[in-house]
Symmetry: C2
Subunit: 156 residues, 2 copies
Amino acid sequence: MRAGVVLVLCVACNKPRVDTAKETQALLETDRAWATQASAGKNVDSVLAYWSEDARVVMPGQATLQGQSAIRAMVTSGFATPGFHVSWSPETAVVSQSGDLGYVIGTNEFIVPDSTGKTSKLIGRYLTVWRKEPDGRWRCVLDYSTPSPAEVVAKK
Amino acid sequence: MRAGVVLVLCVACNKPRVDTAKETQALLETDRAWATQASAGKNVDSVLAYWSEDARVVMPGQATLQGQSAIRAMVTSGFATPGFHVSWSPETAVVSQSGDLGYVIGTNEFIVPDSTGKTSKLIGRYLTVWRKEPDGRWRCVLDYSTPSPAEVVAKK
């Protein structure tokens, strides 16, 4: 009887165990892989695959983009613009105990050409919220970025 | 024997159960209560209590503030400035299945006077990340805000 009870306990407790350290590492690696794809500036589909279907992108002074279709238009336009370049670097990731929700903070840099071809460098700080989806992949559901102080921009 | 096994199962499964709908509601109400305190613009301590000890505040073009001491200086300075006013309104909250991590998105408005007393209205969109702390209260660990598009600012 004792053996039977122990077995039942193990089955019951097994499910909610999440290795948060491992998930945090996976999330950081996902964000880094995403940054590599984005800064290559070539494959729209592979960059788009990191956002969830319902993702929201909120960039300084730009209209909120909601959903893959609106985000695809932004990425396509950026990649098609000569001189455009984006890069970012994660600083910290945190994952919930249940392993279904997490976030990443870091810094980013956009090089954006104007109509005359002259480029501006926009330095920012980002906070992305991620959801573990049914296929086991982390996907970005919220993508917020805000400008860094002028002195940080000037130093770069 | 059957009754014994059922009892053990219930004890084992009881702990991880979190009512995420209830927690989401609690988080939204916490953010609303915080906004009420902040827009009153009087009690620095009661506003400060909503951030965690290690909270990070990231506002457009401003240096990143890390920790209660830096945040206290910002709040104290704002509340002491005649004509300063802040308000915000949450739109959506989401909580992890484990109930330890959540986020809120919404819109905010800062009225900021310059040295001549003339005020500017800054409209933004915010994303705050929250952690359930050992005392059972949700506290804000990340507080990011980014400017809304010019047309939104002009309409207000």
